[in-house]
Amino acid sequence: MAGEKILRVVDLCKSFHRLEVLRHISVDFERNEVVSIIGPSGGGKSTFLRCLNLLETPTSGHILFDGVDLCAKGQSKHIDAHRQKMGMVFQQFNLFNNMNVMKNLTAAPVRIKGMAKESAEAKALELLGRVGLADRADAYPSQLSGGQKQRIAIVRSLMMDPEVMLFDEPTSALDPEMIGEVLDVMKNLAESGMTMIVVTHEMRFAREVSDRTIFLDGGHIEEDKPSHELFAHPESPRLVSFLDKVL
């Protein structure tokens, strides 16, 4: 259903000690929407994304996920349940190093959702096939390339059937020739209708794949528009100079 607001951020602030990283951010995300967040380093992009699933605790403000305020008192004990519905992909992949690929993928659905091991494995193989890695199910993370690790990290999140996927610079730690394979997976995911929020330095992905792009600088949203418009007609001078540097 288009127009349904799956995630609403209201007046979000985050400071580390005296350093204000996010200043009064309010923004909505709709179901099936693909949103890119761009901006200079240190502008608060990653912190913002990590606040969404409470890997960072917001200093103040509200995050409404499916209408539930994650920051409300008493919600902290339900946070594990909320996180199951929010997939997260990290810059450093963070596959579980002590498990092989299959275990990485099936551990959460089996242990948390009580899914039968056989059906979890069947599902894992199916998803692995979709990202072109069905033959690596028995490999350990140390035996995989960065691009393979990241594709598997994406599958690990998908195993939990999340409603939203958060990507924290998913291609920044990759060798250039591996960026494409990860972006392809993300593009397919976007086309399948997944709601995605992507912090990225890949301007082409932001412009061509995402519906909307947010320019975050100095801890607040400078500009938030449909992607083609933001790239074609940037308004804020900071965005203009940022795009000048990166494009």
Binding site: N53, L55, D80, A81, R83, Q84, M86, G87, M88, F90, Q92, N94, L95, F96, N97, N98, M99, A107, A108, R111, I112, Y140, A153, R156, S157, M160
Partner: protein
Amino acid sequence: MEFIQTMGKLIVRYHSFFEEGIVNTLIIAAFTVLLGTIFGTLMSGMRMSRILPLRWLAVAYIEFIRGTPLMVQLMFIFYGLPMAGFTLPDISWIPNFSRFAAGIIAMSINSCAYVAEIIRSGVQAVDYGQMEAARSVGFSHSQAMRLVVLPQAVRNILPALGNEFVTVIKESSIVSVIGIADLIFRTNDVIALTYKSLACLAIAALCYFAMTFTGGRLIALAERRMNHGR
């Protein structure tokens, strides 16, 4: 050459002294390793706990124990506790039980603090991203610890723990000061009888080395087994 002959004669004549000393040293070390590991694990749990008073208690304990000599701790347990009204019981069928108990308790209290720090640093050496990734798929903190972080920490912990065990064998020589007939205590007996102090000490050193070397090899073997199963 003559020196080695002297050593040989001493061993032939006084082997029962050295044997008894080795057995007692091993008894003390084995119990210390066992208790030190059990309580050290619990202590490291307290040290990393999110409940602040528990954590402070553990920090205070670890800092204090590591910052005072084992000799003092041993004396405190053996002489101080009875003065304060805690007497360790004698058990008739175990000779010298109260002495051994005091020695093992003091050594364990000491080793516990070191083991706790070894485990803590092993756990904290695991990349924090592993914990975050586990939490992000919906695991609770304790599930993430059990399934993801601890299995990786074990590989950091084992080698350092092996070192600690070897250290315990050597450090146990200190219990001779409260009259436990360990290897160094019995070595002193033989010195008193023969006046051959250098040869006796050489024998003791060789015995200690044989124990620590064997212990070290056994631990290395266990490590290789662990790594095999990934």
